[in-house]
């Protein structure tokens, strides 16, 4: 990836964009206008930044509570995301879902929900439906965290997709934490998630997102495999979030994360690393970065303005959509 100037700049732009969006939400959250829980992806942007470059609107995605970046990686509308968090009618879910329930079917983003693990089989079902069409050449992304690997439904689904050879690509973002709980409290020591998963008979791989090229390579390999072979694949990506589990703040003062762990990720932040590398390689200049930033900032401001100026849903909207007609 880093050999390809255009591509790596685009990934940088994508990652930067996600980070700036998430940080803007964090910054403005105290205004108390975004009145719903938000699980931000600051620190975890690089992989979604890559995924965007593989965009195919006929690929589908499902995700969980921490889904902003996944939604954005599917080129879904930023305006509608912000409006959704503001509870506005123009939001991607009409304001009914909030940050934890996002959707944009036109881009193939089929939904994210807030119960850990419970979109995993939804993704498998989408793949099952795809696979019934023998000429299908698409896949479904199933995003999950390390915590979701503790749910029974994950394993039930895994067994099924291997049995039926379904074209789904599991993207496991292992940030070592489930809320405040580190892995060792929830899973046996020395477990390697990707290895555990591979014993179900699915191809797996893993990468540390701070290793930029490797992350790209592993993702790309997995993506192409599923697209071509129409078989399932699971990739574990080591990553780390910078903010608290839920909400706009930094919470490392609470000391639930090991100092070494935090330092490691501070020093190895993928977005910063990418920026530095691109600067060094002269793919990118400081002025270009500034122009990226101002372009993104412009879009962000427009999106927040859009959200702020949008109409809220009304009483009449309350009783809509329970049933499809």
């Amino acid at each position: 990836m880093l050999r390809n100037k255009k591509l790596s700049k685009r990934i940088y732009f994508n990652s930067l964009r996600i980070r700036m969006i998430e940080l803007e939400i964090s910054k403005r959250y105290h205004e108390q206008k975004m009145r719903c829980p938000v699980h931000l992806s600051v620190g975890q942007e690089f992989l979604p930044g890559i995924i965007e470059t593989f965009f195919d609107k006929n690929d589908k995605s499902v995700s969980g509570h921490r889904a902003h970046a996944h939604y954005l990686s599917k080129k879904c509308s930023l305006k509608k995301l912000i409006a959704e968090i503001y509870g506005k009618k123009t939001g991607c879910s009409g304001g009914i879902g909030g940050s934890m329930h996002l959707i944009d079917k036109s881009k193939g983003f089929y939904g994210s929900t807030a119960i850990v693990g419970n979109t995993i089989p939804i993704g498998a079902g989408i793949s099952l439906s795809m696979s019934l069409n023998k000429t299908n050449k698409n896949l479904t992304y199933i995003f999950l965290g390390d915590g979701a690997v503790e749910t029974g439904i994950f394993f039930e689904t895994l067994n099924f997709v291997v049995l039926k050879k379904l074209p789904c690509l599991f993207i496991c973002e292992n940030n070592s934490f489930s809320v405040y709980s580190e892995l060792r409290k929830r899973q046996p020591k020395n477990r390697k998630i990707s290895k555990l998963v591979s014993s179900f008979g699915i191809k797996t791989d893993s990468a540390n997102t701070t290793h930029l090229n490797d992350t790209f390579k592993k993702f790309s390999k997995a993506y192409n495999y599923v697209k071509k072979k129409q078989m399932p694949y699971f990739v574990e990506f080591h990553t780390s979030r910078k903010l608290e589990h839920c909400g706009p703040n930094y919470d490392d003062d609470l000391n639930y994360r090991d100092k070494n762990f935090l330092n490691y990720w501070k020093k190895n932040d993928p977005v910063e690393k990418l920026e530095k590398t691109l600067l060094k390689k002269k793919y990118l200049s400081k002025t270009e970065i500034l122009s990226f930033k101002s372009k993104i900032q412009g879009e962000i401001i427009r999106s927040f303005n859009y959200a702020e100026n949008s109409k809220p849903p009304k009483f009449e909207d309350l009783n809509q959509n329970l049933f499809s007609k």
Partner: protein, 351 residues
């Protein structure tokens, strides 16, 4: 041409009809393609439609419910069958947190999953505490799910087709003892949510569905003698439910008996009763009555399971009591067969 079909055949016909009509529809469930074919309701369907559209599955009820939702929102209508309602508890997260809300929680930007979950209620031959439960009341409480429970082959046929083609998640409840019951079949669209006036009457309204309704019908002909003319309403659609027809009837008859096929506290029947008494001032001539199973788990021993269930006899007695009639004879037809109260017909398997 054959014009009588068992309930099980009616189910199968409905599936065939639906799968032909929608070539993208799929159908799965434990044992769907095995020699018993879910009580004969699915036998050989995999041969007709191929193994890609009709297939057996692992014992993974929760995931398979989610998979049904996913398949449906991607374009494949799904029918998922459970051989016992009891097993579906494992999938309540998917049913309630996802299926019931899918369209609502995304603000209508998608569609509800068009899935039908068939659940079979076991009874008798020692089905016991974990193989004979009916959770209709739990699911009727959940906004966004439709729940139906027919009594007759024709209604089963029509309701199953209409459930499958309803663009929303539907729980389709089949009582195991109905599978062998026969009747004619004609295709008629039933609007889910409706109730059906089965018999016009005068002085008591009786609501029931599924096996409970059959119990009511068995009692029916013994009532005239006591000047009791029941208006019988088949609540084959449990949720949503058309209350206006029921209110109209009760306002006329001023007496009400609701037959529930499960335990009664915080139940479907109490839900309907509570709606009625809130809506209209009805001058009941006697207190409205709910009759259902006991509020305990079902015992296995056939020696006492007979005390557990509502049946024709208990319904008969309860109706007479409502009219203050204490001097009556029990029709021999309603007397319990001492040994075989736990099977619908003499030859009935262990499963």
């Amino acid at each position: 041409m054959k014009n009588k079909f068992t309930f099980a055949e009616a189910i199968k016909k409905a599936i065939i009809y639906s799968m032909k009509k929608d070539p993208k529809m799929i159908s799965y469930g434990l044992g769907i393609d095995d020699p018993k074919g879910i009580f004969g309701t699915t036998t050989n369907l995999h041969k007709i439609f191929g193994e890609r559209r009709v297939f057996d599955v692992p014992t993974s009820e929760n995931a398979l419910t989610g998979i049904a939702i996913g398949s449906s929102i991607a374009g494949s209508r799904v029918l998922f069958s459970h051989q016992r309602f009891d097993f579906s508890l494992l999938s309540f997260d998917q049913l309630i947190n996802n299926a019931a809300k899918w369209n609502y929680m995304f603000g209508g930007k998608t569609k509800s999953p068009s899935i039908t979950i068939r659940v079979v209620v076991g009874k008798g031959w020692g089905q016991g505490p974990t193989h004979s439960q009916n959770f209709q009341s739990l699911l009727a409480h959940i906004p966004g799910l439709k729940v139906v429970s027919p009594a007759f082959p024709e209604d089963a046929y029509n309701l199953l087709i209409d459930s499958i083609f309803d663009p929303n998640p539907v729980i389709f409840i089949e009582h195991r003892w109905l599978h062998g019951v026969s009747g004619g079949i004609k295709r008629n669209k039933i609007s889910l949510g409706d109730v059906h006036l089965k018999q016009r009457g005068k002085n008591i309204t009786i609501l029931g569905n599924s096996i409970g309704l059959l119990n009511v019908i068995k009692v029916n002909r013994f009532l005239e003698k006591y000047k009791i003319y029941p208006e019988i309403i088949d609540c084959y659609s449990i949720s949503p439910i058309n209350l206006s027809k029921i209110v109209k009837s009760v306002k006329k008859t001023k007496r009400l008996l609701i037959v529930d096929n499960s335990n009664t506290f915080c139940s479907f029947s109490s839900g309907v009763l509570a709606e009625l008494v809130q809506m209209k001032k009805i001058n009941f001539k006697s207190n409205p009555v709910i009759i259902g199973n006991k509020n305990i788990p079902s015992p296995t021993s056939h020696y006492i399971s007979k005390f557990f269930y509502q049946d024709s006899l208990s319904i008969f007695k309860r109706i007479l009591k409502t009219f203050g009639i204490s001097n009556y004879e029990i029709p021999t037809e309603l007397k319990k067969n001492k040994y075989y109260h736990d099977v619908p017909i003499e030859k009935f398997g262990p499963f």
